[in-house]
């Protein structure tokens, strides 16, 4: 719960308890921490997870994305040398490499998976995975 502040960050706050917004209705100099959630098994992401960093911790993990909704945003990071996969909520509704209608995208090559991941967001029509490559050369598999 909110409580009186004991230390000031760089972010302006309102009454010490909530972020202030500036003339452009922006939270300026936003100071935040991300929600981090470890997953050791396949997981179906839900809309209220938006903003979360998911960490694949043990074994292959397939993250199934929720129904497309504009603004939803998730991060996925592999922390062990196992497959990390994203699956669209509906077939053909994810953007891939030179392909505007893929179902899945994954890091599948052993020795290249640790530290790799995705940031995926939606505009309500598609899922858009942005690729985080742990190495200069990393193999992605899309289908």
């Amino acid at each position: 719960m909110p409580r009186e502040t004991t230390r000031q960050t760089f972010m302006d706050v309102y009454k010490g308890k909530t972020p202030a917004i500036d003339d452009d209705k922006q939270i300026d100099n936003i100071a935040y921490k991300m929600r981090v959630s470890a997953k050791a098994a396949d997981y179906t992401v839900v809309a209220k997870d938006s903003g979360t960093v998911f960490m694949q911790t043990v074994g292959d993990v397939n993250f199934t994305l929720p129904d497309r909704e504009s603004g939803l945003i998730f991060w996925f990071i592999g922390t062990t040398d196992h497959e990390i996969m994203l699956t669209s909520d509906t077939a053909g509704k994810m953007m891939g490499f030179n392909d505007v209608a893929i179902d899945t995208i994954a890091f599948t090559t052993a020795g290249e998976q640790e530290g790799c991941g995705f940031m995926a967001f939606s505009d309500g029509a598609f899922w858009y995975p942005c690729i985080i490559k742990g190495l200069a050369t990393t193999t992605l598999t899309q289908a």
């Binding site: 719960m1 909110p2 409580r3 009186e4 502040t5 004991t6 230390r7 000031q8 960050t9 972010m11 706050v13 309102y14 308890k17 909530t18 972020p19 452009d24 209705k25 922006q26 300026d28 100099n29 936003i30 100071a31 935040y32 921490k33 991300m34 929600r35 209220k48 997870d49 938006s50 903003g51 979360t52 909704e69 504009s70 603004g71 939803l72 945003i73 953007m95 891939g96 490499f97 030179n98 392909d99 505007v100 940031m119 967001f121 939606s122 505009d123 309500g124 029509a125 598609f126 858009y128 995975p129 942005c130 690729i131 985080i132 490559k133 200069a136 050369t137 990393t138 193999t139 992605l140």
Partner: protein, 146 residues
């Protein structure tokens, strides 16, 4: 404006209407959604659009995103995503962008014939320079920095 919540997120809220800050003035476990905007014609983002995720969804030709004046860029962040098999260019005021081992770049261009779609760039300004963070769809995507 904040609105009464109808379902609970993992994020603390204040009076059920606004994100709360913790004792260190952080928004802890930030729960948020991006402002996502599709552009089918070239566009110059506004400062007040900081935090927006621009896509080229629906574009039938090349798209150029022109960044605002660098002097006003401190803390401004934009995301750009190539969602069609069309060229996408991010253009900064001349020689004010850091990208691809070039500290005085002006343009970041995705025009590779086999890798135009599925690439992303996050751009952050610090009042002196724009800093580009490209995320490519595959290893062999060629990013042209000029």
């Amino acid at each position: 404006m904040p609105i009464p919540i109808t379902r609970q997120t993992h994020m603390d809220t204040f009076n059920g209407m606004a994100p709360a800050v913790d004792a260190d003035h952080f928004i802890d476990k930030l729960a948020f959604k991006f402002h996502v905007v599709a552009k089918t014609a070239s566009y110059t983002p506004k400062l007040r659009e900081s935090g927006t995720f621009f896509t080229t969804e629906g574009a039938s030709g090349a798209i150029v995103f022109t960044l605002p004046a660098v002097a006003s860029s401190d803390g401004i962040v934009y995301w750009f995503y190539s969602a069609e098999i069309q060229n996408m260019t991010i253009t900064a005021p001349a020689n004010t962008m850091v990208a691809g081992s070039d500290a005085t770049a002006t343009n970041v261009v995705f025009s590779d014939a086999t890798g135009k779609c599925g690439n992303c760039v996050m751009v952050v300004g610090n009042g002196t320079l724009w800093h580009a963070f490209p995320m490519t769809a595959q290893n062999d995507v060629v990013i042209t920095v000029t």
